[in-house]
């Protein structure tokens, strides 16, 4: 059997309702024709616009320099990775970016948990409406929300001018914008509503009978929370954590807008090497490291979340 050849149906699958649609029916020319018609376009798109770019990027990361035509052969070299390993600041920035993303994800999850808890157990019939209310900020333009924080925190921004107007300070505070704290603040703001969703889903799945049983057996609310609610909601908590953590590691837009040079993250040096510095081979090597780090995290995440779901 060659790859991506449809499997032939087993004899018993020809009965009605026996899943004949998974294989061919009769001679099945129509099923086969449909298959190729809907198989080739996605295959082509994914190969040309997803697999090939990543492979090319990998190839570029083994290129010695940018000299010559973009499309030429070169002798693969580990120079870029060697200089990457030798330069401590890249690793430091990768470490800092990971820690920053970690801090953002943990903060977002901790702040979102009570939100989800309220929606799941106390909002009653209005829960749907309250949820929409929570999600509207998340659905507003991403760039716009980040800009709002720039306007809030800037030296001529809202907070400063308000404090001066109120007579609390004379000179504007410059420490508000263009640092890592501003990046963390903005990104927690951006992701907070989103983080509540998987936690809410996990909380809603808990069987209410468990609480009644626990209460009948004399468990106090705090004990119920510790022994029932929290453990059963952990899959949602992990999902929320990774849903914030993974996109945040690759973040480069928010640091660009509110982080300044002091708030740079790993994604920003990649962007720099492809725009200002035009050192694509080194930028590709940095991207490959980031891609590898992200994929490892995702594998880790699926392990962790699947493992938890076994106990559900």
């Amino acid at each position: 059997m060659t790859s991506s050849t449809p499997t032939l149906p087993s004899p018993k699958s020809n009965s009605f309702g026996g899943g004949i649609l998974k294989g061919w029916k009769g001679r099945g020319w129509d099923r086969r024709a449909t298959f190729w018609l809907i198989y080739l376009p996605p295959l082509f798109c994914l190969f040309v616009f997803l697999v090939m770019p990543v492979l090319l990027m990998a190839a570029f990361s083994f290129r010695p320099d940018m000299r010559g035509d973009l499309f030429r052969t070169w002798i693969p070299t580990l120079d870029q990775y060697a200089s990457l390993v030798a330069t401590g600041s890249y690793w430091r920035l990768l470490g800092i970016s990971t820690l920053t993303a970690l801090g953002i994800a943990i903060s977002a999850v901790l702040l979102a948990y009570p939100l989800a808890y309220f929606l799941a157990f106390y909002a009653g019939a209005r829960a749907g409406f309250y949820l929409i209310l929570l999600l509207v900020p998340f659905w507003t333009s991403y760039l716009l929300r980040i800009m709002a924080w720039k306007i809030l925190l800037g030296t001529e921004g809202v907070i400063n001018s308000f404090l001066i107007y109120a007579g609390l300070i004379q000179e504007p505070l410059t420490a508000l914008l263009y640092n890592r704290t501003a990046v963390v603040l903005t990104l927690v703001y951006v992701w907070l509503p989103f983080a509540a969703l998987p936690i809410l889903a996990a909380l809603q799945r808990i069987d209410p009978a468990l609480f009644e049983a626990a209460a009948d057996l004399g468990a106090r609310p705090a004990y119920q929370f510790a022994r029932i609610t929290l453990p059963l909601s952990l899959p949602g908590v992990f999902a929320a954590f990774f849903m914030v953590f993974i996109p945040t590691i690759g973040e480069y837009v928010t640091p660009l807008l509110v982080g300044g040079s002091r708030g740079f993250l790993y994604g920003n040096i990649i962007q720099d090497f492809f725009t200002k510095a035009a050192n694509w081979p080194l930028g590709s090597a940095l991207s490959m490291i980031m891609l590898a780090a992200t994929l490892i995290l995702v594998v880790l995440a699926t392990r962790l979340i699947d493992l938890r779901q076994l106990f559900e």
């Binding site: 996605p42 090319l56 309220f118 800009m147 306007i151 509503p193 690759g250």
Partner: protein, 260 residues
Amino acid sequence: MKSRRGPVLLGTYYFGLIVLLYLPIALLFLFSVNSSAFLSFPIKQLTLDWYQKLFDADAVLRSARNSLVVALGSSLAATTLGTMVSILMLRYKFRGQNLLIALSVLPLIVPYVVLGVALLILFSVLHIDRSLWTVGIAHTVVALPYTLLIIASRFAGMDAGIEEAAMDLGADYPTTLRRVVLPLIFPAMVSAWLTAFTVSFDEFALALFLAGTQPTFPVYLFSQLRFANRLPIMIALAVLLMIGTLTLVLVAERFRRREV
């Protein structure tokens, strides 16, 4: 009954946080009707001038049109591909099936900065000039996981017996798809299309790498940030676009939740 302190405390927290979440957005609204180009307290005068000036600002409107074109094209492409992969995923069995599905959802986890530079390398190597096409292609790729997940979750709940019945009655498979399957998953397709549209319309991280001389609105907005006196006009348009996107999202939600 249990004590009422918990609910009150949680409710206060919930609505307090909601207020905090809306505050920055409300400030932008304020900024777009503020007479001065700087938003500083006390606010002197309110005006709709910025909205009026907006309609004379050609470049701004052109960038909004570019975003619209890219979002329309990429969302249609992503919905088509998402429908195809959904059918392949749920109605066929073939070698490499899992790989195809994995590739389709991969853009969800590849950092945008990595995908952006990878596509930049591809287009440069192929000598394809950066244009709305290149942005549209990138947006199609990143919207595919969303359309696939939305359509497949609807499709999965559908009884394959309906299709088998149609085929037993003599319809060939293309006809069955066209007359039976597509009408049934149509609400999910609309929802997927609207979602893909908003994903593309708002997207900046990829567009910054791939937009050439025709910036999309977010890219143009970003390029104008240096000029403080242009900011209120930009924000006025952003506010208008935001209202449009929000309407779309809410419509998409309605479609997604609609029963079979």
